[in-house]
Symmetry: C2
Subunit: 335 residues, 2 copies
Amino acid sequence: MATIQDVAIAAGVSAMTVSNVINDHPNVRKATREKVLDAMARLDYRVNVAARNLRKGRTGTIGLAVPEVNSPYYAQLAAAVIAAAERYSLRVCIEQTGASRENELDALSLSRNRLYDGLILSTVGMGPADVELLKVDHPVVILGERIFGGPVDHVAMPNVDGAQAATQHLIERGCRRIAMVRGPVGEEVDVSSLRFTGYRQALRGAGLPLAPDLVQSMEALTLRAGARSARDMVASGLDFDGVFCVTDTVAIGVLRGLADVGVRVPEQVKVIGFDNVEESEFLIPSLSTIDPDHDMMARRAVDLLAGRIGQTEPGADHEEFISHFSVVIRESTGG
Amino acid sequence: MATIQDVAIAAGVSAMTVSNVINDHPNVRKATREKVLDAMARLDYRVNVAARNLRKGRTGTIGLAVPEVNSPYYAQLAAAVIAAAERYSLRVCIEQTGASRENELDALSLSRNRLYDGLILSTVGMGPADVELLKVDHPVVILGERIFGGPVDHVAMPNVDGAQAATQHLIERGCRRIAMVRGPVGEEVDVSSLRFTGYRQALRGAGLPLAPDLVQSMEALTLRAGARSARDMVASGLDFDGVFCVTDTVAIGVLRGLADVGVRVPEQVKVIGFDNVEESEFLIPSLSTIDPDHDMMARRAVDLLAGRIGQTEPGADHEEFISHFSVVIRESTGG
DNA sequence: TTGTATGCGTTATCAG
DNA sequence: CTGATAACGCATACAA
């Protein structure tokens, strides 16, 4: 494959002139440029990105580490990040971590290895205990709920407020015994625990009791687990008239589970989710949910990262950005 | 940031020995190895991937160019490709082309630039006319329906046969006036036209007429367009008792559109899709569909690519792989 | 406006 | 088992 040298020889100029042509430097005479372009075309020259990266110390690529791409929420987020990165001419490489702490740390070290100019890391496996590991000398933006106040920029969803608004919406629609379907209960802060806090606050605000048997805790936030949860609740004779689901994916499962056992939504039970994934509008019944403004989050994350990539020094203070949300009211809560 | 040289000095050995330790070469004395590992840890050494890539002429990364990640089908495919690539220790960088021919060619040239060791290219914008452009000297696997018999390996879905089976299933369930909801009608071969062929074959095989007014052609294969199509069909007084949707995404929209105008599925109209995206199982009603075995396709594509990456010469003959399919019967066709 | 010299960090080769 | 040397292809700084 042709190198810059080959082109230089073919065009009868120096390698440097070829480089100047490639990079659109102004100080190249038109005639020279033509000669070079012609030689490049003849030899089918392609820049060697690896060499350029080495020389420049930049790759023009940022990493995006998410638990899985095959999930509407992260897929949507990834698309938004790619779109936002385009404005900075940054390529995005998506890394799947499978929600494991180890893989998240791997992603972190890959960007340390200068494979990426920076990293947007969606933390699910890593927790507050890992904050120290984020003290790296290259740009990182954390996207998620697990780590606050770390030594890096942070973009988060309005989990507590959004969950509170969702629950409050159910209350306003007349629900009095509101269940929540959530992920595993653990020591540490995660999406489920934050949204549970919002749920609890809404109940308290309305003077409703927090009944432990109304809180369903599942192993994983999947369609299947959501469906099973719903069937279990009904099968166990639980009395409830509303469900706040920790994510839309879970809510889709819950809708299906309720249908399986003949419970009508929204007549008998009202359901609300969180995320506003694209499909939610087209379900039957369409799903009420919280829209956390993914696009804004993605844009903010990329902006922060791009800003850090420019500067030489670590940069003093780190930003915490929490996006705004809106309640999207659809058929599943009586529309 | 520490280089291999710094480590060498700190450990009192040569750079080469450090390199040998890093790459697990056998001929390093234990004591030496320890010294080096110790120095690496002290200096927090990280390999510079750009330098390694330059030297090796490999990046360990393959590109996956798809129209959009924010679409259940491609998201699922991407996840499967990532999983398959892992077995070869290959990283996957997802490139969004937005279904534009230009962006697809961009992706092609990026891998030519040695950003990637190879490329899996999902062609939607490029067509048979662009076959010549695929004659590149580095590994490419085409994933899609637009280009057959090109100068590269090719993995495709069982479009015609799958569509025929889907339509036939509707016929077996008693449908006699079967509509098809598809993408734009054009000169060239694409997913819609191939699946339309299958649809036509099934009708002919059953001795049913192909009624032009039963074929709905939409601008884009989206949820929204699917919903509108369904509403339009009903509003225009069209008489139909079954719908074959060109993709599951479209089918989800169609189910919603039928619900909007009070048509019951499967009692009045039966619906079947194509792709078997994860959500289809959890819809209300759950969606019958064709499962083209994404995992197999992804694995095959990665296997082919990995095989080409190994070899030095372009390799003579190119493989055409068409995956198998199965009909998944669910509630939308009467379960 | 163009060319020369140099080094980015790594590893293959081969000699010690 | 270890080390010296060179080269991967490009772009910065400076000289002409």
